[in-house]
C-alpha cells in the first residue's frame, strides 16, 4: 500500500514538473511580456531597459532555474502586470471559483441523478421522453448562449436577478445554472444508460422476487450499482470544470475567478500568473482524480478489496 502511494506521489511530482516546464517555455516562445503590457512606442534601448527591469533579460534556462528555486520555497513570483505577489492575486480568485464549482457540482448531482433515474424507469412513457428531450437541449446549447439568454430574460426583461458580480446569493443563480446545464444534461444521459444497464440485470429480478418495494429496488439496488459509472463521469466533469469550464461564464457574469485570471494572464503573457494558474488547475485535476478513486471504493466494495 505504501509502495503504491509513493509511486503515485512520484508520478504526480513528475507530471507537475513536466507541466511546469512546458508552460514555462511555451509562454516565452509565444512572445515577450513587455510587448503585451505597454510596449508600444518604445525604442530598442528603452524596451531593453524594461525587459531588464522585469527580470526577463536573463537566458531562459537561467530564468527557469530561478523559477524552480523560488517554487521550491513556495514562492510563485510577482505578476508582471499587477506587480503583486501571484499568491495574493490567486487567493482573491480561488474563493469565487470554488463557490461556482461547488454550486455547479451540487446542482448537477441534485438534478441529473434523479432525472436520469426517472428517465430510465419511465423510459417508455412521455415523462422519460420529456427528460431526454430536455437533456438533449441542455447538451446542445453552448453555455455562453444560455448565459446571455438567462441574463436577457431573468435580468434584462424581468429584472428578478442581478446581472453580474458575486455579492449575494441571488448572484449565484444564473452563473451556476449556465455553468451546470451542459453537465446536468450529460450526466442525466449517463445515469439513464447506467440505470438501464443495471435494470436488466438478474439480481434486480431477484430483489423484486423477494418482495422488496419498487422504490427500494430502484434506489438501493439499482442506483447503488449504477453509481460507479455516475461517479467516474462526474469526476471527469469536475476536472473539466476546474480546468476550463469557468472561463466564459466568469467573463460574462464579471465573476472574478481563476478562469478569468488565466485568460487575461495568457492574453498579456503574464508568465508568473499563467504558470501558477496552470499548476493550480493541474493539481486540482490530479486531486479530483484521486478523490474519485477513493469514492469508487466507498461505492463498490470490490474496488476496496482489490486494492488491499
Amino acid at each position: 500500500m505504501l509502495e503504491y502511494a509513493l509511486a503515485r506521489l512520484l508520478r504526480m511530482v513528475v507530471t507537475m514538473l513536466v507541466i511546469v516546464t512546458g508552460v514555462f517555455f511555451a509562454t516565452r516562445l509565444s512572445g515577450n511580456a513587455v510587448d503585451f503590457i505597454g510596449g508600444e512606442g518604445l525604442s530598442a534601448a528603452d524596451r531593453a531597459t524594461l525587459v531588464a527591469y522585469y527580470g526577463l533579460d536573463a537566458s531562459w534556462l537561467e530564468q527557469y532555474w530561478r523559477y524552480l528555486r523560488a517554487l521550491a520555497e513556495g514562492n510563485f513570483g510577482i505578476s508582471l502586470v499587477e506587480r503583486r505577489p501571484v499568491s495574493t492575486i490567486a487567493l482573491e480568485r480561488v474563493g469565487p471559483s470554488l463557490q461556482l464549482l461547488v454550486g455547479a457540482v451540487l446542482l448537477t448531482l441534485a438534478v441529473a441523478v434523479p432525472a436520469g433515474t426517472l428517465a430510465a424507469v419511465y423510459r417508455k412513457s412521455w415523462a422519460g421522453s420529456m427528460i431526454m428531450g430536455a437533456a438533449f437541449l441542455g447538451y446542445a446549447i453552448p453555455n455562453f448562449v444560455l448565459a446571455v439568454l438567462l441574463i436577457l430574460t431573468l435580468s434584462f426583461w424581468l429584472g428578478w436577478l442581478p446581472s453580474s458580480g458575486n455579492g449575494s446569493l441571488a448572484h449565484f443563480v444564473m452563473p451556476v445554472v449556465a455553468l451546470s446545464a451542459f453537465y446536468i444534461a450529460s450526466l442525466t444521459r449517463f445515469t439513464r444508460n447506467a440505470m438501464l444497464d443495471v435494470l436488466s440485470q438478474d439480481y434486480l429480478r431477484t430483489a423484486r422476487a423477494k418482495g422488496l418495494a419498487e422504490p427500494r429496488v430502484i434506489f438501493k439496488h439499482a442506483l447503488r450499482n449504477a453509481l460507479i459509472t455516475i461517479l467516474s463521469v462526474l469526476g471527469l466533469q469536475i476536472a473539466g470544470l476546474a480546468a476550463a469550464g469557468n472561463v466564459v461564464i466568469e467573463t460574462i457574469f464579471a465573476w472574478r475567478g481563476i478562469g478569468e485570471m488565466l485568460v487575461s494572464a495568457a492574453l498579456r503573457r503574464d508568465y508568473p500568473v499563467l504558470q501558477f494558474g496552470v499548476i493550480a488547475v493541474a493539481l486540482a485535476v490530479i486531486l479530483i482524480n484521486t478523490l474519485v478513486d477513493l469514492a469508487y471504493g466507498a461505492a463498490d466494495p470490490r474496488v476496496r478489496l482489490a486494492r488491499s
Binding site: F36, G39, E40, G41, L106, S163, S164, V176, A254
Partner: protein, 522 residues
C-alpha cells in the same frame, strides 16, 4: 434533500445576504466599466484605461477649464505662476492643501513628484517621461510654498505641460515610506504606490483591487468644492450585454464603452439615456517605412488615397466618427488646422501612384489585435478590401502582440491619443525625431524634418508653430508613415437622473466626477 444541501452550501459560501435590486441613492454613485487598470499611478500610466480614473483623486499645479476644448488655464495646486527667465517658471503653492492621508502638501512634494519624472531612475517612469517631458530639467524648492521649475530650452507650452496627468502631485513621505528605507525612493516604493495610491483630489481611493474595483470616498479636507458623492464605486463588467443589463436593472448608474450599435437599446428604456462625444484620439493606420516592401513613398501614398474613410465612419460608427483631412482636431486650439489637406480619398490617383511605385503584387501584411481598438478588426478588413480594389494583395494577421517594433511589420492599426491639448500632445509625441515611431525602427527622420519639428515644438510664436506644423504635414503627405483613419465616437450609458457627460476639455476617457461635473436628481 439534495436541493436543501445546495442552498445551504451556497448560503455558507456566499458572503453577503440577498441584495435588493433598488436603484442607487445619490449619496453613492455606481459605475460599470468595461476596462479597469492593473495599477494606479498617474506618472507611470499613459493608457486609455488608466486615464479614466486619475482626475478624481489627483491634482496638478495648473488646472484647466474642462468644460471647453479651448485652453483656459486656472489655478490648481499653484495659485500663481510667473516666468523668472527664459528657462524658469516659479510656482506659488496653495496653502493648506492636505493629501488623503492627512499630510500637508508642500514644495517638497511637488519637487519630489516632478523630479521622479524629470530625472527618472525607476525604469517605467524613465522610458515614458522622455517623449513628452524631456525639455524639463529639474524642479527646485525655494521655500515651503514656492517651487521653481527649469527647462532645457525655452518652453512655449508651460501651462499645457504642467497640467498633464503625468505631472499630478503625489506625497513624498508617503511614497518613500512604503517599503525599505523611509528616506529613500526605491523602485519598490513606486511599485507599492501604484497599488495604494494617495493624492490630494476630491476623492480618496478607499479600495483598489487591480482590474476589478475602485472605491472612492469623499476627501473632506479637499481644498476646492467638495465632491458631490460620499462614495463612488467602479467595478469591472467586461461583457457589453451584462454591462447594459446592469444599467437597466439599476445595479449601476453609469456604464462606459457603449458601442454605437447599442445606443438605441439603451435609449429605448424610459429610465435611461446616453451621452457621447468624439474622442480626442485618432485611430491610425501605420506603415513600416523601413520595411523593404513598404519603402516606396508612392506606394504608401497610393494606399492612403485608396481608403474611403467616410465609408468606414458610416459603416462602423454610424457616421459619428470624425474623419479629419489632416492630423488635426479641435482641442489643438490655436494649432487646429482643418485647412490642411494631408489625407484625401482619390481612387484614380491611388491607381496612378500604385502604377508608378513599382509595386509588383507583393502581399502586404496588416496586423491588428482582435478587440483592443473598437471596430479595429472590422476596419482593417475593410481596408484590405479597399486596397484589393486597386490591386494590392493583403493578408490580415490577428494578434494581440504589439508589432510596431517588428521589422517584418508592413502595416497595422494603432491609436494616437491626445495626451495634452496641443499637436505636440499627440503627433508631436508619436512622430518626433527619436520619438516612439522612430525609436521602434519603422519611421526615419532627417535633418530637414528635425528642423521643422523643432520650430513646431519650440517656437514661442503661434504663427511660426502653425507654419512649421503645416510643413511637417506636407512631409507626411508626400512620404506617409501613417494615415489618420478617424476620431472614434465614444458613448456612455446612464440613468436619466444622472446629469453627466464627457467634458470636451479632458484627455480621452476621463470619468470626471468632481463638483460641477456631475449631478444626480432624486
Amino acid at each position: 434533500m439534495m436541493t436543501r444541501s445546495l442552498v445551504l452550501a451556497l448560503a455558507a459560501t456566499s458572503l453577503a445576504s440577498l441584495a435588493p435590486l433598488t436603484p442607487a441613492l445619490a449619496a453613492e454613485l455606481k459605475v460599470g466599466a468595461s476596462n479597469m487598470p492593473p495599477y494606479l499611478d498617474p506618472g507611470r500610466d499613459h493608457s486609455n484605461v488608466g486615464s479614466q480614473f486619475y482626475y478624481n483623486s489627483f491634482d496638478t499645479l495648473i488646472e484647466k477649464d474642462h468644460s471647453t476644448a479651448e485652453a483656459k488655464f486656472l489655478p490648481g495646486l499653484a495659485t500663481q505662476w510667473n516666468r523668472i527667465d527664459d528657462l524658469t517658471m516659479e510656482f506659488k503653492l496653495r496653502p493648506g492643501v492636505v493629501f488623503h492621508n492627512g499630510e500637508p502638501l508642500t514644495a517638497d512634494d511637488v519637487v519630489f513628484s516632478f523630479n521622479r519624472m524629470f530625472q527618472a531612475s525607476f525604469p517605467p517612469y524613465a522610458v515614458r517621461s522622455k517623449d513628452r517631458l524631456n525639455n524639463f530639467d529639474v524642479a527646485e524648492k525655494v521655500d515651503d510654498l514656492t517651487v521653481r521649475v527649469r527647462t532645457k530650452k525655452p518652453e512655449p507650452l508651460w501651462e499645457t505641460l504642467i497640467n498633464m496627468q503625468q505631472l499630478m502631485i503625489v506625497p513624498e513621505d508617503y511614497v518613500k515610506g512604503l517599503t525599505g528605507d523611509p528616506k529613500v525612493a526605491e523602485n519598490s516604493d513606486f511599485e507599492a504606490f501604484a497599488l495604494a495610491p494617495v493624492g490630494s483630489g476630491p476623492y480618496r481611493i478607499a479600495e483598489f483591487i487591480p482590474g476589478e474595483r475602485i472605491v472612492w470616498q469623499r476627501h473632506d479636507a479637499f481644498w476646492g468644492d467638495k465632491a458631490p458623492f460620499e462614495r463612488v464605486t467602479v467595478r469591472s463588467i467586461p461583457e457589453m450585454a451584462t454591462r447594459i443589463t446592469a444599467l437597466k436593472n439599476g445595479e449601476v448608474d453609469i456604464i462606459t464603452n457603449l458601442p454605437p450599435d447599442q445606443l438605441a437599446t439603451v435609449e429605448a428604456d424610459p429610465n435611461l439615456k446616453t451621452a457621447g462625444m468624439v474622442t480626442p484620439l485618432f485611430h491610425v493606420l501605420i506603415y513600416n517605412t523601413l520595411n523593404e516592401k513598404m519603402a516606396s513613398p508612392k506606394l504608401r501614398q497610393a494606399l492612403n488615397h485608396a481608403i474611403d474613410r467616410q465609408t468606414l465612419s458610416e459603416a462602423l460608427w454610424q457616421g459619428k466618427a470624425v474623419v479629419p483631412a489632416s492630423h488635426t482636431m479641435e482641442p489643438f486650439g490655436a494649432l487646429y488646422m482643418p485647412e490642411l489637406k494631408t489625407f484625401e480619398y482619390d481612387i484614380e490617383k491611388a491607381k496612378e501612384l500604385l502604377a508608378e511605385s513599382g509595386y509588383k503584387g507583393e502581399e502586404i501584411r496588416i496586423d491588428t489585435s482582435a478587440t483592443y481598438y473598437t471596430n479595429g478588426l472590422l476596419a482593417m478588413q475593410a481596408v484590405a478590401e479597399m486596397w484589393g480594389a486597386i490591386g494590392v494583395k493583403t493578408r490580415i494577421n490577428v494578434d494581440d502582440k504589439w508589432t510596431g517594433n517588428d521589422p517584418t511589420m508592413n502595416a497595422r492599426n494603432w491609436s494616437n491619443p491626445m495626451y495634452f491639448p496641443d499637436p505636440f500632445g499627440s503627433f508631436g509625441v508619436m512622430w518626433a525625431p527619436g520619438g516612439p515611431s522612430e525609436g521602434e525602427g519603422r519611421f526615419k527622420t532627417d535633418a530637414d524634418y528635425a528642423e521643422k519639428w523643432d520650430r513646431f515644438r519650440f517656437s514661442t510664436d503661434v504663427a511660426a508653430r502653425r507654419q512649421a506644423y503645416g510643413e511637417l504635414m506636407e512631409r507626411i503627405k508626400n512620404d506617409p508613415p501613417f494615415l489618420v483613419l478617424y476620431q472614434p465616437y465614444e458613448s456612455w450609458g446612464m440613468r436619466k437622473t444622472v446629469d453627466w457627460a464627457p467634458a470636451p476639455g479632458h484627455i480621452p476617457y476621463v470619468l470626471d466626477f468632481r463638483a460641477g461635473s456631475i449631478r444626480v436628481d432624486g
